[in-house]
């Protein structure tokens, strides 16, 4: 028998691409279609090799939407008419050798089935974990309420169990939110909130934890901030995640500063620290789940790396923006902008990137 790689030639790849359920097209640098598989031909006959994507989709999609797909590489849904299924499009991130791009498409909702199964499983798992976690954390706390009958090493053991159970709880919460949120199930309960008061409350609730680590926490909130339309529970979660990150990932003596400013069209919330900073190659990387940058090697620091990712998704759900400025040795600043007029920023029903 010949070696497997001898049998795999371009015919083989053409057959594989021909057998795929999703449509695949490739375009060159100028967004002119080079090649399409049979599924793409069936789904969108308008896309003909030699014609540009803008020209082919122009009659059915706004240029802005095509820009979002082609330039910003966001997932978009395009409808070609009442009697044809809406098509979801994804621009693959890697560029092709000729500088072009590969695009994938499928009937809207096709991926939901796959996602739903994953979501159901993760939700069920995180739910089931809560009962044993309640017991573990509860009894560890109980041991620590009255330690008079315990030896120092038993007290220490109970303390470690308690800390670990707390960490596990934060992890389960984050996994739950991330799963729920990734697939648009998470809905905001939006009302006008006093973001200054909310921020102060959250910061104060974390103060004992922060100061317990020998760190300082400063909160600076100007009077007369405008009311913001937001989900108070989610904003609380964002702030708590970020202050928690700043505290947990840094050593004793670190100063954490929380600040809010009026930006005219919204409010800017900054959570900064003068700690060790994080060595991310780029900002996108910082917001990827389970990514802790260089901290990943420091096993004694708690934190899963999903806090930032959750915060980003929650901020984006509010039609806000989040950015991070950090480098090893230079501390970390996370800046969040929340719009005053959420209505104009609201675009309903647009799926996020998969």
């Amino acid at each position: 028998m010949p070696a497997a790689d001898q049998e795999i030639g371009s015919d083989y790849f053409a057959a594989v691409l021909g057998a795929l359920t999703p449509g695949v097209i490739t375009v060159d640098e100028g967004f002119v279609v080079r090649w399409r598989n049979p599924a793409a031909e069936t789904m969108v006959p308008e896309l003909v090799p030699g014609r540009s994507v803008y020209e082919s989709l122009g009659p059915v999609a706004h240029q802005q939407k095509i820009d979002r797909l082609m330039l910003r590489r966001e997932m978009v849904t395009i409808t070609f008419g009442p009697d044809r299924p809406a098509i979801e499009w994804l621009n693959c991130r890697e560029r092709l050798p000729d500088g072009g791009y590969a695009l994938m498409m499928w009937p809207a909702g096709w991926t939901d089935q796959l996602n739903n199964r994953r979501v159901d499983f993760t939700m069920a798992a995180s739910h089931e974990l809560r009962t044993p976690l309640t017991v573990l954390l509860g009894f560890a706390e109980l041991l620590l309420i009255d330690t008079s009958g315990l030896s120092p090493s038993q007290v220490e053991a109970a303390g470690v169990i308690e800390q670990t159970a707390r960490h596990l709880r934060a992890l389960v919460d984050d996994i739950f939110d991330l799963t729920k949120n990734s697939f648009g199930e998470l809905r905001l309960t939006v009302k006008e909130i006093d973001i200054a008061a909310l921020t102060e409350t959250v910061a104060e609730s974390l103060r004992p934890q922060v100061e317990g680590r020998g760190q300082s926490l400063y909160v600076s909130v100007p009077p007369d901030l405008p009311a913001v339309e937001a989900d108070p529970a989610r904003i609380r979660q964002i702030i708590s995640n970020l202050i928690g990150n700043a505290s947990v990932h840094n050593a004793e003596g670190t100063t954490i500063e929380v600040e809010i400013k009026d930006s005219g069209d919204g409010v800017v919330l900054t959570i900064g620290d003068d700690g060790t900073g994080i060595g991310f190659d780029n900002a996108d990387e910082a917001f990827r789940s389970f990514n802790r940058g260089e901290l990943a090697i420091e096993g004694d620091r708690a934190g899963s790396g999903i806090g930032l990712s959750v915060a980003k998704r929650l901020v984006e759900l509010h039609r806000g923006r989040i950015s991070i400025d950090t480098a090893p040795g230079e501390g970390t600043r996370v800046e969040i902008w929340l719009p005053l007029d959420r209505g104009s920023a609201l675009v309903p029903g647009e799926p996020g990137p998969v």
Partner: protein
């Protein structure tokens, strides 16, 4: 301090609730599901009715929301706190007719404060 009925299907959490609440000076009885909770209330002398009820949402036989109407009938005016997993928070919000909600894992500071508030002199 108060007489409390804790309705919860996990034996370990029943034990935890009993120990923690007793430590805070409360008297705790438990039931493992909605049916047991209703039986417990039916068998109680009026002067022995709980002053507060902790109710789990997901339980075999009869769950928290299913048992709530009977609990209200048998223990009128007794405050009920739903205690359930965070993932059910949407369902927790959907059940309007309770005096409090505490997510699992239970924050006992929060729970004990809520109990004190709901059984305090103002609410008698």
């Amino acid at each position: 301090m108060s007489r409390i009925l804790a309705v919860e299907d996990s034996g370990a959490i029943r034990l935890l609730l009993t120990r923690r609440l007793e430590l805070a000076g409360h008297r705790v009885r438990t039931a493992g599901d909605g049916v047991q909770a209703i039986r417990e209330l039916e068998d109680s002398m009026p002067e022995d009715l709980p002053e507060l009820i902790l109710l789990d949402l997901t339980m075999p036989l009869l769950d928290g929301s299913g048992a709530l109407p009977d609990i209200r009938r048998l223990a009128p005016g007794v405050p009920v706190i739903l205690v359930s997993a965070h993932s059910e928070i949407d369902r927790l919000d959907a059940i309007e007719d309770v005096e409090g909600r505490v997510p699992k894992p239970i924050d006992f500071d929060l729970l004990l404060n809520l109990i004190a508030e709901l059984t305090g002199p103002r609410n008698r």
